[in-house]
């Protein structure tokens, strides 16, 4: 059970500051997801923990030990790269054994560890193949398998699903969740720009924005109580409706936020009157984009395949306890909850 702690960690490349004063405390065995838009510094943060980049300022502790100057190989971490980083000229077995040989393990021990990992990931059948003879999903498993055999204290994933197609991504996501259950003692840090992956996998989510930690919390905390307008917009799919002007001002805020699933639609009465401009029927849900007079365009989620026609006149009412209010700087406005 290895805890990971970052204290005032900063990272600059030359004069460009990529991470600013990051403070995080991850508990042992936790599954933590770093999420944020592309370029916000997620990979950099992960690489600092791995030791692939030097920390410009601040401290990194694993299990209470300062790790800033410890070699990557001695930190007790494994990393699954976005590109898998398998050695193309080695077989699957050799790929997995290469690092273990370095760790001076006996060949029986190496074989046993590889067999166990291969079994867990169902890759035993391709141990003699080269990476190029494998599909993307199989390569991904090999990369994960290679990381498992090191028996790390901390497991790092950098966007491991981004090179897979949609169906495979869902399967692999479930497998990673299962892996976390099996390796319950291993702390896992997972980087993604996809908030759905974050919500489904994480015990806790760290939302990053332009090198700053915006919020840390469980998926449902972030969903219910976003600490900023950025988090409110980033977490949840489709994204929250942000309404400015009159409606927001009426609540004493600069921005009025309401998620599509928290707007009630009625054909005869409600708060905002509007016209349906566009509908997206997904089968399980239907999303209606309604052009309202007072609140502008509002996206509304309807359960099931709601027969609603484009051009139809409707009324919308936001659920009062699901309203989010933000000031001009994007901070939440408290005490003004009541509609």
């Amino acid at each position: 059970m290895a805890s990971v702690e970052l204290k005032n960690v900063c990272k600059s490349f030359g004069t460009v500051e990529v991470l600013r004063d990051v403070n995080l405390a991850l508990e042992g065995g936790e599954f933590v997801v770093f999420v944020g838009p592309s370029g916000c510094g997620k990979s950099t943060l992960l690489r600092l923990i791995a030791g692939l980049e030097d920390i410009s300022d601040g401290d990194l502790m694993i299990d209470g030990q300062r790790m800033n100057d410890v070699l990557p190989a001695k930190r007790g971490i494994s990393m699954v790269f976005q590109s898998y980083a398998l050695y193309p000229h080695m077989t699957v077995f050799e790929n997995m054994a290469f690092g273990l040989e370095q760790a001076k393990l006996s060949s029986d021990e190496i074989k046993a560890r590889i067999a166990q990992a291969a079994d867990m990931l169902q890759i035993s059948d391709y141990m003699e193949r080269k990476p190029r003879q494998l599909s993307g999903g199989q390569r991904q498993r090999v990369a994960i398998g290679r990381a498992i055999t090191r028996q790390p204290r901390v497991f790092l994933f950098d966007e491991p699903l981004s090179n897979l197609d949609a169906a495979l991504r869902v399967d692999t996501r479930l497998e990673i969740a299962a892996l976390h259950k099996r390796l319950a003692d291993t702390t896992m840090i997972y980087v993604t720009h996809d908030q759905v992956e974050a919500m489904t996998l994480a015990d806790r989510i760290v939302v990053l924005n332009a090198g700053n930690v915006e919020q840390v919390g469980t998926p449902l905390e972030l969903y219910a109580r976003p600490a900023s307008q950025f988090v409110a917009g980033f977490i949840g799919s489709p994204r929250m409706n942000f309404i400015v002007g009159e409606v927001a001002a009426g609540h004493g805020a600069a921005t009025f936020g309401i998620r599509p699933e928290h707007v009630d639609l009625s054909r005869d009465k409600g708060l905002w009157k509007g016209t349906v401009r566009l509908t997206e029927a997904l089968g399980s849900d239907t999303f209606a984009h309604v052009d309202t007079e007072t609140a502008g365009m509002v996206n509304v989620r309807l359960a099931g395949a709601e027969p609603i026609g484009e051009g139809e006149m409707v009324f919308l009412t936001p659920q009062p306890d699901a309203i989010h209010l933000f000031d001009a700087s994007g901070r939440p406005v408290h005490g003004a909850r009541a509609a």
């Binding site: 692939l52 990393m79 193309p88 690092g99 190029r132």
Partner: protein, 326 residues
């Protein structure tokens, strides 16, 4: 369990359309290739054909038009002296020729090996980031940028037995007592030629290898860092196998060049058995000794020897010319 092939008119039309399309493509491909093929035929194929033809004639330099076919006599001929005695003549029985074949092969093996080794070391250094790397890269290329004739002449002076700076320096630091005739003495002539070739061509090798090194994905090294792989093992087990295709191409390039070596030898050590290469031998016969047909035979053999060695090397290293190794 296969379904009956679909031969409905629609699919038949479709396949006729694609094949017409591909015929069209093939035709325009030939159209684009034609100028180059014609030029190649004019400047490479035709001279080759003429050389091979002359090697089967009794042509001499001023009577090229009156060359007569004489079969294999330039290559090998048994002359019977009538008294039960006889002798073999021709290129294949000429010990001077075989000496120059050996000189060439020896030169190629030693110089290309050294160039590969030094090129690899330089490429590995240049691959690292350090201040002023661009300048070092440019500086390393200077020997390659100097025309061979110029650098051969330059080195010939520097290696001169009486006035050369090399002897002077070696004597000053006490490595040798008396001046050495580097290019003139048979023991050192080949060493001198090889040294100059290595000096000149290592930058080219380094550059080709550097290009190969830059193709290796960075995360390969990062994965190895996480595994704590020490530098030498990393080089042997990861870097070297990954740059091997580029390395082999570079070696073949250089070997082809080295096997035809002419200018360095001709300028630095003219007319020495110790360094006479196949090209020098062929030129001597073609133009100096007025044995044009005989020189043509040497050129023809030179061509086939280089072709054989190259094919042998490609085959032996199972070189992947398609480049899909990764």
């Amino acid at each position: 369990m296969s379904a009956a092939p679909d031969i409905s008119p629609a699919t038949a039309r479709a396949s006729a359309r694609t094949s017409r399309l591909s015929r069209e493509r093939i035709r325009s491909a030939w159209l684009f290739l034609a100028p180059m093929l014609i030029v190649l035929a004019g400047v490479a194929l035709y001279p080759l054909y003429r050389t091979i033809w002359f090697s089967f004639t009794d042509a001499s330099l001023d009577l090229l038009g009156e060359a007569r076919f004489i079969g294999w006599r330039n290559y090998l001929e048994y002359v019977d002296y009538g008294n039960g005695d006889g002798e073999w003549f021709g290129l294949l029985a000429d010990s001077r020729w075989w000496r120059s074949v050996w000189n060439t092969v020896w030169f190629a093996i030693v110089s290309v090996s050294l160039e590969t080794l030094f090129g690899l070391v330089i490429a590995l250094v240049l691959h690292k980031k350090f201040p002023g790397r661009v300048w070092v890269q440019a500086a390393v290329l200077i020997p390659w940028a100097i025309p061979t004739i110029v650098s051969a002449r330059m080195w010939a002076w520097m290696l001169h037995d009486q006035f050369g700076i090399v002897n002077d320096m070696l004597q000053r630091i006490g490595l040798i007592d008396a001046p050495v005739a580097w290019t003139a003495s048979p023991e050192t002539a080949m060493i001198a030629v090889i040294m100059v070739d290595v000096w000149k061509t290592t930058p080219f090798m380094a550059l080709l290898i550097l290009a190969g090194l830059q193709m290796v994905p960075r995360d390969m090294y990062e994965a190895a860092r996480l595994d704590g792989v020490p530098p030498f093992r990393l080089f042997r087990r990861v870097t070297l196998p990954l740059i091997m295709p580029a390395l082999l191409v570079a070696i073949v390039f250089r070997a082809l060049d080295a096997l035809r070596v002419f200018d360095i030898v001709y300028v630095m050590t003219p007319n020495t058995d110790a360094t006479r290469t196949m090209s020098v031998y062929a030129r001597e016969n073609l133009f100096d000794f007025d044995r044009f047909a005989y020189g043509s035979a040497a050129s023809t053999l030179l061509f086939f020897i280089i072709a054989l060695i190259t094919i042998g090397f490609i085959y032996a290293t199972r070189m992947n010319l398609e480049g899909d190794e990764r």
